[in-house]
Symmetry: C2
Subunit: 659 residues, 2 copies
């Protein structure tokens, strides 16, 4: 059977896998084990219902500090007709929680009696009078918690399949359950393969890749209630991989064979799986992650006591986003199946997609998104989509599934996203869309301390103004030079935001200049050098403030864009430009000094410009945005920014005006 022919739909692949797992006998619930009822039991899954072994309370207990008595004996007591009871046989002191004597059927609280014949007035002696005087009667069973008031023996305390939470431990202990039977944790072995991989903690040379998929998978598996075991990195050698897989079969209930990033690596995975068992599925029509392999691997003993069993194995693709999706779509349901618990399904939220998102159509397409509320709309936007973009995993607020058959979703459409964060997190999100400035990271950091979350998108200054017009952001960073006046931003706000009232607040004056290789090997001195034939330039994207600045000065100097090599190579951030220079893709680019410092480049300062925050007036007085204004006025924060090369914070926080 050739299983390599085509990617098959997810449901079909998973159905085939599960069917085969059932056949192998590995489809049953995991065995149970008995564990003590203590704090370590949190998160474990009950394999049988927990019934109350004893009632709670398990005897008639006094609900107050007071005296136990026969209610009938108090009948004649009244304010005008006090009654005296002997503390030898008619009334006995009881603490709250004490058992009420069998002969008594009520408790009269200590504050409702008078103690007679006390030895002293000390508090603890008030409990030992010879007699008491009462001035009111009590009804039977008053101030008593009758046996079983809370739970009655034999009652269901918690159902089978329940995942234990802290409070459940109290209910179990109170109902006389000293131990509980819980599902054994599914053991999942993770084998990272790939000759290019190195372990965390080692310095990565060119061509070496730090292996972290196994850490992310292990952390997820542990959170899902499994027990992950990470095996050492194995080189792309079928013999060696085979050996590790054989070891892992014995030690686990499921093996994840994580390929390296090269297509060759996956070939080794399938070779080894086929060798030790069978490949059921190779290729699922999901994106990212389509090269997933599903199979079974066997263990056959060589000794006299023959045994034979097989366990499932998953060939996990090497790219981190693909590996993560494989975990969520395939590993999680398997663990939940074995635990007999309902898989923890993510909360969902309806949101408006703020950016058109295309999809190949033939695959279920899983897109990681950011999300948050802007005004009265919940908005969501896709993160960069490469299977290797690990930052998209960490930054994702949720997952959007575009089912196969749909070729994309238009901006403005409503979508359902599965959340990775609480909805509360979405409500404390500030969307900053616009120009990129490195110090926004410090703002994000400071906002986090004040319970706000800054989500930035770098689309350039003009892109930010457009986002404000569309109601898709709470603020936009902008540094657009007006060539006629030499002022910044105001003219563009009037042009782009005629109908949105905004406040313009200065963030910082910053120095822009040329980012060049350390030591300036090409002897670049000014913008004029960009026309040199041996100089490769890297530009910022159209609509960015830096591009406007460049074009203004090129024109002023009478330089022509046509003669600048690399003028059409666009980067979206200052750091992107710096990276292009440091990695020899370009000789120079225009950017802020901080980007040069960050990547140890030289910097030729050329101009000073004003970087402002543009904030619609509808947000300036909101609870959400208040921390932004607090931070901008904070002396310590200003000093921190002021110390960064090229930043002048003397005008920070000044309101330029409202437009």
């Amino acid at each position: 059977m050739n299983v390599y022919l085509h990617d098959i739909p997810f449901e079909q692949a998973m159905g085939k896998f599960l069917e085969r797992i059932e056949e192998s006998g590995w489809g049953r619930l995991h065995a149970s084990e008995s564990i003590p009822v203590d704090e370590k039991a949190v998160g474990r899954t009950l394999t049988e219902p927990a019934w109350a072994q004893i009632s709670s309370p398990h005897y008639h207990a006094s609900a107050m500090d007071g005296f136990a008595l026969k209610a009938e004996n108090s009948n004649s007591a009244a304010p005008t007709n006090p009654l005296i009871l002997s503390c030898t046989d008619q009334a006995i002191y009881v603490d709250t929680g004490d058992p009420v004597p069998e002969w008594a059927n009520a408790v009269i609280p200590i504050e409702d009696i008078e103690s007679l014949d006390l030895k002293s007035n000390l508090a603890h002696d008030r409990r030992k009078p010879d007699r008491i005087r009462i001035r009111s009667s009590v009804t039977p069973w008053s101030h008593i918690r009758p046996m079983g008031e809370d739970m009655v023996a034999t009652q269901l305390v918690l159902p089978e399949g329940h995942v234990l939470r802290p409070y459940d431990l109290g209910a179990l202990a109170a109902s006389g359950n000293n131990t509980v039977r819980v599902r054994q944790k599914p053991r999942v072995g993770i084998i990272p393969t790939g000759s290019e991989l190195i372990e965390v903690g080692k310095n990565a040379g060119r061509g070496e890749i730090i292996e972290f998929n196994s850490i992310v998978l292990a952390a997820q598996i542990n959170q899902w209630g499994g027990e992950a075991k990470r095996y050492p990195i194995t080189a792309d050698e079928p013999k060696m991989i085979r050996k590790v897989v054989q070891k892992a079969i014995v030690e686990n209930d499921l093996v994840l064979l994580n390929a390296g990033s090269s297509a060759g690596s996956e070939d080794f995975s399938s070779t080894v799986i086929e060798d030790l068992g069978e490949v059921l599925v190779h290729g699922i029509s999901i994106r990212p992650g389509h090269p997933v392999i599903l199979g079974m691997v066997r263990m056959v003993s060589s000794s006299k006591n023959e045994y034979y069993y097989e366990i499932p194995i998953i060939g996990v693709p090497g790219y981190p986003v693909s590996a993560a999706l494989t975990g969520e779509l395939i590993v999680l349901p398997l663990i939940a199946k074995w635990l007999g618990s309902n898989p923890q399904v993510a909360e969902e939220v309806e949101a408006i997609l703020s950016k058109k998102t295309t999809s190949p159509g033939g695959e279920d397409d899983y897109v990681r998104v950011v999300a948050g509320r802007v005004g009265d709309r919940m908005l969501t936007a896709p993160l960069p989509r490469g299977a290797g973009v690990i930052s998209s995993l960490s930054k994702a607020d949720g997952l959007l599934k575009i089912p196969r058959g749909i070729q994309g979703i238009e901006a403005g459409e409503k979508v359902i996203i599965q959340l990775y964060r609480s909805k509360r997190d979405l409500e404390r999100t500030i969307f900053a869309i616009g120009s990129h400035d490195l110090t926004l990271d410090l703002l994000a950091q400071a906002l986090n301390r004040l319970d706000r979350r800054l989500v930035s998108a770098n689309v350039g200054s003009q892109g930010g103004l457009v986002a404000l017009r569309r109601g898709e952001a709470h603020m936009a960073g902008s540094h657009l030079l007006d060539p006629d006046t030499g002022d910044f931003n105001i003219r563009y706000i009037k042009e782009y935001l005629p109908e949105v009232r905004v406040r313009l607040v200065t963030w910082a004056n910053r120095s822009q200049g040329l980012l060049i290789k350390k030591g300036n090997p090409k002897k670049i001195k000014s913008l004029k050098d960009l026309e040199r034939n041996d100089i490769q330039f890297v530009n910022r994207q159209r609509g960015s403030g830096t591009r406007v600045l460049l074009d203004y000065h090129l024109e002023k100097l009478g330089l022509s864009q046509e003669f600048i090599k690399g003028y059409s190579n666009e980067e979206f951030t200052h750091l992107g430009v710096a990276v292009a220079v440091v990695s020899s893709r370009a000789d120079c680019g225009l950017g802020v000094a901080a980007a040069a410092t960050a990547l140890d480049l030289d910097f030729i300062p050329l101009f000073t410009e004003r970087y402002d925050l543009v904030i619609p007036l509808v947000y300036t007085n909101t609870d959400l945005m208040k921390p932004v204004f607090e931070i901008i006025q904070d002396q310590e924060f200003r000093e921190t920014i002021g110390k960064i090369q090229g930043y002048d914070v003397s005008q920070m926080g000044q309101i330029v005006g409202e437009f």
Copy 2:
């Protein structure tokens, strides 16, 4: 200073406590420690921002399996004009992820080339041709992931105060962070005190109480990011308590001194705290939990190297619901403060209160509630409110705060509740309000397997019909005898639900009779014995099917309610009646056989009755209720019920009719 005078408002108490903690130097963030980036780091809090140490990718990497080349060298290639490149110096094979050689600036995918001079046709040999032929040109930087595409060195990866999640570990590792600095876990010592307490696992005699507060608190503290340490139970002896507290001061950052249930126990707490430091607050106006003590305790060295420090201590009330609330309101914010993370705030939901809830008015009143959607309304109802009702902790779906100054909330009002469960859980909740039947626990158990959650309230058959009329339940159990026809339920449905169309489905026929002490010491034979002077009866509440049944037969037999001792003592469940008998509060009561079996009582069968489920037609075909109908038809489930004494399942699942 006398701190015992009055309960003070929570904000004031907490303010005083925090101020004193600041003074003591214990108000700072906890120290940090360095830990490796691996799966064990999940849940830890960053003490400093994590910046990218290296870019990701940290070199220009091939995005495909293919051949690296100079884009300029491919310019002349076209379908009709193939170009041949040498694999020594013009094109070099690269795997996905491999570094692109410095001299190259593009990759052409392997599927777009033809290999020449191959040694064999084996897949891995396709990568080692002497020459390749290409038929199309490539643009510079195509199929290359440029250095820093994902993350650029110096960028913010995660802000200070961030609590690490699995994916974050990937982002940290990929950006060259081998270790991270995280906040040391706040250490919290928990000392349970009380001479009446025994440890989980020991058999509780009369007057002995199983100690579980420390387990619940420890589990919570660990979940909140702290490190809990439980000390052994200490008897109500100030000297012994003092000794344990002194030990705990040295070993922890915070001590919880959990009193026993008696008021005397709290006195010991305050005595010891005063002795070792000072009591700041004794009594906070919150309910439950007002006897909380807040204080500081000191450690003074006796050796030559003098040292002196003090740490906060909380005197936690003994009742479990009070202890839990103390944890949530006081311990959680302290731990969050030390971790520098935002306290995990619960999701909130707006719901309609379905039952009037009173409050003392002078205290912030915290009410544990159940919640779920019925039709298009989110409903919530208070759970039983005693401070000792541990089951209310385990059953609670959320917490309703009634602030001081408000004396209660009417049924039908909108309230905000803090959720202990996901909103999704609320959507999969089936509210069964009505008559109590023990086998509903088995239904709950079976529904749990089918991803439904049964929340039952025992209000009697008539109460259930009223709940259906008010739209507060999805189904009601009912066994109301029609004295005129001998049939069940139909007449009452017509009377109570004239405007609600319902389906009546039989659950089981069950035997009702007298529950009596084992061995029948009072020789009870029939209902006629209830008039005997030496027989104490326990009744069911008005409106319950069992009460209707009793009254019908009393009248038929010509017996008078007036002459039955205990006729007005009402219990709300069959088990409640059984408990009254087993604990000698009554000699007999009317109930189902299963209740007698549960508590090892004797049973005198008297009548057979039909117990039906009443389900509004608007729910009968919903996804939510489908599992109920599946279970009721399930042969195995029916057999399980049929085996219980007094249950006849021959009519189970039969539709009596729709009314």
